[in-house]
Symmetry: C2
Subunit: 163 residues, 2 copies
C-alpha cells in the first residue's frame, strides 16, 4: 500500500496507465480501420482474423479455436466470419471425423488479399511507430510491457518478414 505521498514525482498511477492504454488503442484502431477499409474493404478485426487463419496450418481453423486465438466468443467469430465468407475470402469446410465442427478456411483469393492487407498493415504500423520518434529499443520495450500487461500474445512467432 502506497502511503499518501506528497512527492513532486507523480508516483506512477496504475489507473492512469490503464486509461492511457485504452486511449492509445482507440487511436491505433481508428488508424488501421481507416487504411484497411479504404484499401481493402476490411476492418482491423477482419484483418486480425484473416492473419490468424493465414498462420494456421492449412490456412484453416476450427471456429472455436479462432475465438480463443482472437479473444472473442464463439458467436463473435460466427458473426465476424459471415461477411468474409460472403466476399469470398474465407470458406466454410466441414470436418470429416466430427460433423459438429465447421472449419473456417482461407480461400486462394483470401490468401492473396491477405498478403496485400498485411503489406498495408505493416506500413500503417510503421508509420504509427515512426522511426523518428520510436527507437527499436522503445518499440521492444513497449512490446515486452504490453505482452506482460495483455492477455496472451497475438501470436508466438515474431512474424515472418515476408511480403
Amino acid at each position: 500500500m502506497t502511503i499518501p505521498d506528497p512527492t513532486p514525482t507523480p508516483t506512477p498511477d496504475p489507473l492512469d496507465t490503464a486509461l492511457r492504454l485504452v486511449r492509445a488503442q482507440a487511436a491505433l484502431v481508428k488508424r488501421f480501420d481507416a487504411s484497411l477499409s479504404g484499401l481493402h474493404g476490411v476492418s482491423l478485426s477482419d484483418f486480425t482474423l484473416l492473419l490468424h487463419l493465414g498462420q494456421a496450418p492449412g490456412g484453416r481453423m476450427r471456429r472455436v479455436d479462432l475465438a480463443e486465438a482472437l479473444g472473442l466468443t464463439a458467436s463473435g467469430v460466427t458473426r465476424g466470419l459471415a461477411p468474409l465468407e460472403r466476399i469470398g475470402l474465407v470458406s466454410r469446410e466441414t470436418a470429416a471425423r466430427d460433423a459438429r465442427v465447421a472449419y473456417a478456411a482461407l480461400t486462394p483469393t483470401g490468401r492473396d488479399r491477405l498478403a496485400e492487407m498485411r503489406y498495408t498493415a505493416r506500413k500503417v504500423a510503421a508509420e504509427h511507430f515512426a522511426a523518428e520518434r520510436w527507437s527499436p529499443d522503445d518499440l521492444d520495450r513497449l512490446t515486452t510491457l504490453l505482452t506482460r500487461a495483455g492477455g496472451t500474445a497475438p501470436d508466438q512467432r515474431p512474424v515472418d518478414p515476408a511480403s
Copy 2:
C-alpha cells in the same frame, strides 16, 4: 523481477506491437467492466466519462468538450450520457448565454458514487499491474510509451491521491 532480457530479438515488428496493444486493452477493459459493473452498475466508459466530469471545474462540461476529451463523437456522448442521467448520476443543465449548449453535470449523488468507483478502479488497476510483476519503473516506462503512442492523454494531471 525485471529482467533485462538477453533476447535474440528478431527486429521489433511494429505490427506485432500494434496487435499486442489491441489485445492488452481488450483484456484490461474486460477486467474493469467486470468489477465496475458488478459493484457499481457502470461500464468502464461510463466511469471514464464521470471521471472527466469530476475533474472539470464545477463538475460540468459541454457535451462537445466531453466528446473531445473522451475521443468519441458527439453522438456517442449523447448516447452514453442518457443512462447516467436516467440513474441520476448526471444532470442536464442549459447554458444561460447559449441556448444550443447543454451541459452535462455531475449530481451530488454522482459525485459520491464516482468516489466509490474511483476506489474500485484504482484497486483493479493496481491488481492488474501488480507490484509483484510491475516495478514502478516499468509502469512509468509503459505510461510514457503509451502516451507517445496514444492520441492525447486521458488527463494532464497525475491524478489527485484522494479516495
